[in-house]
């Protein structure tokens, strides 16, 4: 009887341990402190912009990458390149077409450890087109929060960002750099 009890308890402990190891901690990005920035090339010169409105739900633990996940929703109309004329053009139907594609969505599929930090491949849905985009990032835990910061590169034309005149890469380069810095708070 005593032996049986120990065996049962051991099983419970094992299952609990396994579940614990596989559970990445849940976070959401603090909108005040988090930043999502992009940089493109316009007429030979780099220009930068940010998205003011986006939400990020992050499940992450360095020892549970298989169940870790980064999920970001971006309000495309919140684009700000520090010039109203340009922002209006970017929101228009030839570029972001926010009237029909108000949000962009990025969710990771796999996350792996690299020498510098972590690398992930996720699917980005932008302007109605879904394609894989790799990202690289660092995860820095802190007391009661964590920081997740990294970069990505994508080609805007893969997503049809730029129709008509804006298809030409002579004026606006195809490559766009993304920089993000998320301050994560535990999910409540």
């Amino acid at each position: 009887m005593k032996k049986f009890f120990v065996a049962v308890m051991s099983c419970v402990a094992l299952v609990a341990a396994a579940a614990g190891a596989g559970n990445a901690a849940g976070y959401t990005a603090d909108p005040q402190q988090s930043r999502l920035e992009f940089a493109g090339v316009q007429a030979g010169a780099e220009f930068k912009g940010v998205f003011h409105k986006f939400t990020a739900a992050v499940d992450f633990a360095p020892d549970a990458l298989a169940s870790s996940r980064i999920d970001v929703q971006i309000d495309m109309a919140s684009v700000d390149s520090l010039d109203k004329d340009r922002d209006t053009t970017i929101r228009g139907k030839d570029i972001f077409d926010v009237a029909h594609n108000a949000t962009a969505h990025y969710v990771t599929k796999t996350i792996s450890k690299t020498a510098a930090g972590y690398a992930a491949v996720g699917s980005l849905t932008l302007r109605g087109v879904t394609k894989d985009v790799p990202i690289e990032f660092q995860f820095t835990p802190a007391a009661g929060s964590a920081k997740l910061a990294g970069t990505a590169k994508l080609n805007r034309l893969d997503f049809g960002v730029g129709q008509g005149d804006w298809k030409s890469t002579e004026t606006i380069g195809d490559a766009v750099k993304i920089n993000f810095s998320l301050v994560l708070k535990p999910k409540t």
Binding site: Q42, A43, G44, A45, E46, F47, K48, S81, L82, D83, K84, D85, R86, T89, D165, W166, S168, E170, T171, I172
Partner: protein, 187 residues
């Protein structure tokens, strides 16, 4: 300097600066006028990108030209000119030099204020002179536009004066700035 007496003609270097910059200024007005009527689009950005590249070229040439001018005497004004004419001629030339700097600099600041950084023919990007600021852009745009009209007016005055010297006074003021011509010897 080996030659103490003033030259009778503008040197090849002076003529080079004069005509290259003159051609660039004509190009600048053309590009600005073409771009002005267009809505924000790829074509407007291309025209303005060229306008900025040529503008920065003018600024670089203006620096070289001013340095060169400080160390090289231009030919003297014809003896028969009245003091008012001399003042007007000197004032026009000084205004030209000032505008060669002020026009590109206000343009560069405009681009910075609008967060449209200035590339030089896609080769490199100039740093922004000021932080993005809508109100600063509006002020700078007005200054740049107004000064372009001043430049236009001064250029017309300059051309009419050169023609007046050539056809009315029949002196060598125009010829001494023209390549492939000979100025009459003045003793």
């Amino acid at each position: 300097m080996p030659n103490q007496s003033p030259p009778t003609r503008y040197s090849a270097v002076a003529q080079g600066f004069h005509w290259i910059i003159a051609a660039l200024i004509v190009t600048q007005f053309t590009l600005a006028w073409l771009a002005d009527d267009l809505p924000l689009g790829a074509r407007k950005l291309v025209l303005l990108a060229r306008h900025k590249s040529f503008g920065m070229t003018i600024l670089m040439l203006a620096v070289l030209r001013l340095v060169w001018r400080l160390f090289n005497r231009p030919p003297e004004l014809p003896a028969g000119m009245t003091s008012i004419e001399r003042t007007l001629a000197r004032g026009t030339h000084m205004l030209f030099y000032a505008l060669l700097f002020v026009m590109p600099l206000t343009g560069w600041m405009m681009s910075s204020a609008k967060n449209y950084s200035v590339s030089w023919f896609d080769q490199f990007t100039w740093p922004n002179l000021i932080a993005p600021d809508e109100r600063a852009f509006a002020v700078l745009r007005t200054v740049h536009d107004t000064l372009s009209w001043l430049l236009f007016a001064v250029a017309i005055l300059h051309i009419l004066a050169a023609l007046k010297h050539h056809f009315w006074n029949k002196d060598d003021v125009l010829k001494r700035m023209l390549p492939f011509t000979k100025s009459e010897k003045r003793s």
